[in-house]
């Protein structure tokens, strides 16, 4: 059972949240993408084996959606890495 640090409420147990999954980029403008790109943006996921950015919704408390960096192998939750660009994969 994870403990998740909500920026507003502090360190809270997992049961207060709903996991919204991998932090996909905000919805792109459909007009700016080709059909293939649009289809990919809908269904494809990075599905990182390792550290990734993930969204959680603190539905049973403040109701805010927060982003954490969690390792999908060890489940360790860490501060956002300095370079937010590419999350690392665990070998």
């Amino acid at each position: 059972m994870l403990q998740i640090s909500c920026p507003w409420c502090g360190l809270r147990p997992e049961g207060e949240f709903v996991c919204l999954g991998e932090a996909v980029p905000p919805r792109p403008d459909p007009a700016a993408l080709t059909a293939g790109e649009w289809a990919s943006s809908l269904a494809n996921r990075a599905n990182i084996r390792g550290l990734h950015a993930e969204r959680w919704w603190h539905v049973r408390s403040c109701g805010r959606i927060l982003t954490i960096w969690r390792d999908t192998v060890s489940h360790a939750i860490v501060p956002a890495p300095a370079s937010m660009a590419a999350p690392k994969a665990t070998p």
């Binding site: 059972m1 994870l2 403990q3 147990p13 709903v18 919204l20 905000p26 919805r27 403008d29 459909p30 007009a31 059909a35 649009w38 289809a39 809908l42 269904a43 969204r55 919704w57 539905v59 109701g63 805010r64 959606i65 192998v73 060890s74 489940h75 360790a76 939750i77």
Partner: protein, 975 residues
């Protein structure tokens, strides 16, 4: 030559004798005995039969490293009770498991005659012809340990949360050292120990610590924020320092049998001790052959001497302590130590106690079948000898119990050469290992190690670490260095050397696995089943790894270990479930009108998301269909009222709500006037319908959005993600108000009459309150907000009131409606009404594969909005697959022929891929016949055709019609 109870000693209550039965024998023991110690005290050596070969077995370990199960027939019938940890109960009846008629004379022993045909994995090579099913019942019947009794004891269990600064696993010397250190600093401490009393090895080995342990425990019991759990085992170490503990017969709650803890600890000290392992030799599984530590444990915990003529077989010093203890209790002891150098001081102490030391010797074989009678051995000079005995106590080394550390995935198994075992290596995480769990075996050193671990964890949480007194050195025979001997090779090929007692796995089985190429340690384990039995390899696994290394010429560390998984010890399912059952398992959500519905005799259905709603209100003699038909007719002809409270409702506030609605709905919402509502179909961005509902504009920047009952949570998540993640620039707040508003929905031609009779303080006329209009005010004293929406194809008013007024409103409505014959309506009648009216329903027509055009809602799709969720995907899909499954009405040729919802439509009714399915089928009250809705490939262009449903072997012809059977022009709805 017998095992017996000594006149003194042991932590048992000699003033409380307990009689019991085992396999038909009447015996007696004492309170404080386990089933195992009581049997041993009665010299019952043969207590079970092995899993595959039904070889006679006795007790091998004194705790969870043993595998002998018994069934308790009474009191509180239960099976698979591990005898070495199950407390003896007064007047209890126990039987051995998987034996017939009993352990002493077991018919299954015949398996031993066929043992050559039963090597590891024999079943993979045979039983294929003619069919495995022929042999399987026999195999299944022979497998399994005990039989679940009926009725079975249902332990009373509780599940509880805990939290602390420091959790200490184990109250042996290391655990006590860590706990005292942490507790004296003022930290909150939980000390978890599986013994009846704390002390660990200090008790089990009868070490004299000068009272240190009892002083330490006494102090801990007085310190604030310290909790000691006895008879409790930490079984799981999960992420983020959550640990699960099984507490049996909690000291503080005599009415509880089991308690499962979930403890969040800031830091953990794992002082779980170590498991002794044997040196496997031929027939080393005979009753009377056991671990040296087990013999010691029976002696010190229960005052039971396991045998009068003992042979100890060891490769390390710890057995010497056992030898001295047994000799001191009156046994004649011979210690066979494979190491040639006896060591000066130790040899003297042994000789003084009358222990015969044979240095450089090796036990080759146990003699005796139902009980060990002697061992064959070889002296250092090669001479063979036979030593008569009734007890063989073996010590092949110690395996630190770092399983919990391994469960965290932050510890690696590392080979420790001097101790010839695996230890854990880990970084500076949130736990420390201490004592024997870390490979420190001398008691005084363990206490110091525990203290240092305690200090380290205190530093990690920013507390000052005090000093504590430590016990003096008193443990000259701790296992410091081990001369590994993985097994004593048999001299004859047919001799068996067992490495895993639970699974009857021998060294020959390991050789076979390697020979056949199952050569990584995981494959060896799975092929031979070594380590997969009830002890999960606690005493056998390291030997298996060592043997595999020896047989393959690989260094042991390269062989590696298999994965450690929870639970560390087996845990009762009842404990994990705790008190969760029935209401606590799936709490229902009731509307404020539930009592009224039930009093009226409603049959309640789940409406989605655990809401309970009336399905129908049967009158005496009515079944569901009759009641639903009557209720539906009442609505069509007069007026009905239904409880629509479970519908999802969300209040949306802010200047940008219009933009949000325009994004999530297919229609244009920006232009909806204040005081008006609009029906919205919501798509997910992949172009498939997610939900539908009506949204009303209450004020300039305040709306109320409805969702279907079952999709409320999903819609809530959907809206929040848009507002917080995708369009944080919009000013919108989303407030779920589902449970704040109850509603009673009037429907039927007389609905307005009833509303007027309720004396509203607002104008309820057709012009003032048009279709999709709303009004706010009071009915009598009750505040209401009225929405004019309809799902039934009739004039309809949704009367919303704050939940606390719901019951009063409903009573008022029933009273005002009485002259009009108002009828309470359930969801079954609603289903009839909406199908007749041609309205779609999530879960029926909306099954996640249809888009709005498919369901005939194309006219609602905005022609002007450049973008809304699902717009592009829908267009892309329709372009790729222009032929769609479209909503149609279906009329069976036989007007009384009912179709199951979901019935497939196939070309010609043949058994081929579907061209559609029946989504809803009801007996229409307006047409007095069966009608249906369905999805059909290119359905809209096939109106008038006959299609076919295939229901198993029946082919049912259906005429395709428009998907609406009542009020197609919506005249009633708009009246």
């Amino acid at each position: 030559m017998t095992a017996r109870r000594l006149a003194h000693g042991g932590i048992i209550e000699r003033s409380r004798p307990l009689s019991f039965r085992f396999d038909g024998m009447d015996l007696s023991g004492f309170a404080g005995d386990t089933v195992a110690s009581a049997l041993m005290a009665n010299d019952v050596a043969l207590v079970g039969r092995s899993f595959k070969l039904h070889r006679p077995r006795g007790f091998f370990g004194a705790g969870h490293e043993d595998g002998v199960m018994v069934s308790r027939l009474s009191p509180r019938a239960a099976t698979n009770q591990l005898a070495t940890v199950t407390p003896l109960e007064k007047d209890a009846t126990y039987v051995s498991v998987s034996t017939w008629p009993n352990a002493r004379h077991d018919i299954g022993a015949a398996a031993q005659w066929f043992s050559r045909l039963l090597p590891a994995g024999f079943y993979y090579k045979t039983f294929m012809l003619p069919n495995w099913h022929l042999f399987e019942p026999f195999i299944r019947g022979a497998a399994g340990l005990g039989r679940v009794p009926d009725p079975a004891w249902e332990p009373v269990s509780e599940s509880r949360f805990g939290d602390c600064d420091v959790l200490v696993v184990g109250a042996g010397p290391a655990g006590l050292g860590a706990a005292l250190t942490a507790a004296r600093s003022g930290a909150s401490v939980m000390l978890v120990d599986d013994g009846e009393a704390p002390g660990g090895r200090l008790v089990l080995d009868g070490l004299d610590d000068g009272g240190w342990a009892s002083r330490t425990v006494a102090e801990l019991e007085t310190l604030p924020y310290v909790r000691l759990l006895r008879r409790a085992t930490v079984w799981g170490y999960h992420e983020h320092n959550l640990l699960t503990v099984i507490e049996r017969r909690p000291v503080d709650a005599p009415d509880l049998d089991l308690r499962n803890w979930k403890i969040r600890a800031r830091q953990v000290v794992i002082a779980a001790g170590a498991h002794e392992r044997p040196i496997p030799f031929v027939d080393g599984d005979r009753p009377g052959v056991m671990l040296a530590s087990a013999a010691r444990s029976f002696l010190h915990r229960h005052g039971v001497l396991a045998g009068e003529h003992a042979v100890l077989f060891a490769n390390n010093d710890s057995a010497r302590g056992a030898a001295l203890d047994l000799a001191g209790a009156g046994a004649a002891v011979t210690l066979v130590d494979i190491r040639p150098d006896p060591g000066g001081m130790a040899a003297a102490a042994l000789a003084q106690s009358g222990v015969t030391l044979i240095a450089g010797g090796c036990v080759l074989r146990a003699v005796g079948a139902k009980r060990v009678e002697a061992v064959e051995m070889r002296h250092a000079d090669g001479r063979l000898a036979t030593l008569p005995c009734d007890l063989v106590a073996v010590s092949g080394g110690w395996n630190p119990a770092f399983h919990l550390a391994s469960q965290t995935r932050e510890a690696k198994s590392v080979w420790h050469h001097e101790l010839a075992t695996f230890v854990a290596s880990h970084g500076e995480g949130r736990f420390r290992l201490a004592g024997a769990a870390r490979g420190v075996f001398e008691a005084g050193a363990c206490a110091r190690d525990g203290m240092e671990a305690g200090q380290a964890v205190l530093r990690a949480i920013g507390r000052k670490a005090p000093a504590i007194d430590l016990p003096g050195p008193d443990d000259p025979f701790a296992a410091r260095s081990v001369a590994p001997l993985w097994f004593v090779p048999p001299r004859r090929r047919r001799d068996k050397v067992f490495v895993d007692l639970s699974g009857d796995v021998t060294t020959a089985d390991l050789e076979l696995a390697l020979r056949e190429g199952y050569d990584s340690i995981e494959l060896v384990k799975r092929y031979t089943t070594a380590g997969m039995g009830v002890d999960q390899g606690k005493s056998g696994n390291v030997n298996v790894i060592g043997i595999v290394g020896a047989l393959t010429g690989q260094a042991t560390e390269l062989v590696g270990t298999t994965t450690f998984r929870p639970p560390f010890v087996p845990v009762e399912f009842g404990a994990i479930a705790g008190a969760r059952h029935k209401a606590r398992l799936y709490p229902w959500r009731h509307t404020p009108l539930a009592d009224w519905h039930l009093a009226r005799g409603a049959v309640m259905y789940e409406a989605g998301l655990r809401w309970q709603r009336p399905g129908f209100y049967p009158l005496p003699g009515e079944d569901g269909a009759a009641a639903a038909g009557r209720e539906a007719r009442a609505v069509r002809n007069g007026v009905g009222v239904y409880d629509g409270t479970p519908l999802g409702k969300f209040q949306l506030k802010g200047p940008d709500v219009g933009k949000l609605l325009d994004l999530v709905y297919i229609s244009d919402f920006g232009k909806v006037a204040v005081g008006r509502g609009k029906y919205g179909v919501m798509m997910s961005d992949d172009g498939l319908i997610m939900d539908d509902g009506v949204a009303f504009r209450l004020a300039e920047d305040r709306w109320l959005l409805h969702s279907s009952t079952g999709a409320a949570d999903r819609v809530h998540a959907h809206l929040e993600q848009i507002v917080q993640v995708h369009r944080p620039d919009w000013q919108v707040s989303v407030i779920p108000v589902t449970t704040q508003w109850a509603n009673a929905t009037l429907c039927g031609p007389c609905a307005r009459d009833v509303l007027v009779a309720l004396k509203p303080d607002f104008d309820a006329s057709r012009t003032a309150l048009p279709f999709m209009g709303m009004a706010e005010g009071h009915l009598g004293a009750i505040p209401v907000r009225v929405f004019r929406v309809s799902w039934t194809g009739e004039l309809s008013f949704e009367l919303n009131t704050p939940a606390r007024h719901a019951a009063a409103l409903w009573e008022m409505v029933m009273a005002a409606g009485a002259p009009f014959g108002i009828t309470p309506v359930g969801s079954e009648a609603n289903h009839i009404l909406r199908v007749e009216a041609g309205y779609i329903s999530t879960g029926h027509e909306v099954d996640g594969t249809a888009d709005p055009h498919d369901l005939g809602l194309g006219a609602l799709v905005s022609a002007t909005k450049p973008d809304f969720l699902g717009k592009r995907a829908m267009a892309m899909r329709r372009q790729r697959d222009p032929v769609r499954f479209e909503l149609v009405g279906l009329l069976p040729s036989d007007p009384e022929r009912f179709l199951p919802e979901g019935a497939p439509l196939t070309p010609g009714g043949d058994k081929v891929d579907q061209e559609g399915f029946v989504s809803a089928c009801v007996r229409s009250v307006t047409l007095d016949r069966v009608i249906a809705l369905g999805l059909l490939r290119a359905g809209r262009s096939r109106i008038g055709e006959t299609v076919h449903a295939r229901i198993r072997n029946d082919i049912v012809p259906l005429r395709v019609v428009a998907p609406v059977f009542h009020d197609a022009d919506r005249a009633r709805v708009r009246s």
